[in-house]
């Protein structure tokens, strides 16, 4: 999966948790999930769990901690996809 493909899927994962659809459509690597997309911090857990199902990966506590903006989410998801091969 390319980074762009991961991003396209990630937008679908995030969509149910943000009301700002315009901002979601225009997200960049620097978009902060909590500050920019106004996602409730507890909903980050739901996004992580949904991402696990979507990409068939497992995200541990330390990796989850890094998932603050779109870029770091892509880093973690990309790395986990590579790990599973």
């Amino acid at each position: 999966m390319t980074r762009q493909e991961i991003l396209d899927e990630l937008k679908k994962v995030i969509a149910p948790y943000t009301t700002n659809k315009e901002l979601l459509a225009g997200i960049t690597e620097d978009t902060d999930l909590i500050k920019d997309l106004k996602i409730n911090s507890a909903n980050l857990v739901d996004i992580i769990i949904d991402a696990e199902a979507k990409y068939e990966i497992e995200i541990d506590y330390d990796s989850a901690d890094k998932m603050i903006n779109v870029g770091t989410c892509l880093d973690v998801i990309g790395a986990k996809i590579n790990e599973r091969g």
Binding site: N40, S41, A42, N43, V45, D46, I48, I49, Y61, A64
Partner: protein, 151 residues
């Protein structure tokens, strides 16, 4: 045996809505509460016609279904010193509840909470409240976290 958890609840009398824990395990908690006719909210909700406010029904469900359950899971899995750390508080992060029957002063309600997941410190549950005739009073999905708050 299960009721030792109640000593960990951070609420004082007028806002503590758990009397008894009937069963408690890693998947489910069942607890009871009897609405006190002299509770502070009945005087004004509604004047001369006391009915338990929806927010109180929600609070009862959250205290039994998330807070009691969450403390149990935290004590079990993370071995956190919940008792000794007075800056840890249970916080409600989202609810989606529907109400089906009124609850009147003096009624006893039973809350059953089933765990959907407990991960990264967040507990999400499906919770139902029934009355003494086993009819559904309210049901919905609740989530919460235990957060450290520095005053």
């Amino acid at each position: 045996m299960n009721n030792h958890i109640l000593s960990h609840l951070p609420y004082k009398s007028s806002f503590r809505f758990v009397d008894n824990i009937i069963s408690l395990n890693e998947d489910e908690v069942i607890g009871e509460y009897t609405l006190k006719p002299d509770s502070f909210f009945y005087e004004d909700h509604f004047a001369g016609n006391p009915v338990t406010p929806g927010v109180i029904v929600t609070e009862i469900m959250a205290q039994i279904g998330l807070v009691v359950f969450g403390i149990f899971l935290v004590l079990k899995e993370l071995d956190l010193k919940f008792l000794e750390n007075d800056s840890l508080f249970p916080l409600l992060t989202s609810t989606d509840v529907s109400f089906h029957k009124m609850v009147l002063p003096g009624q006893k309600v039973t809350v059953v909470s089933k765990k959907q997941y407990f991960r990264f410190g967040k507990l999400k549950c499906y919770i139902e409240m029934t009355d003494s005739s086993k009819e559904i009073v309210a049901k919905g999905t609740f989530s919460g976290v235990i957060k450290e708050i520095h005053k």
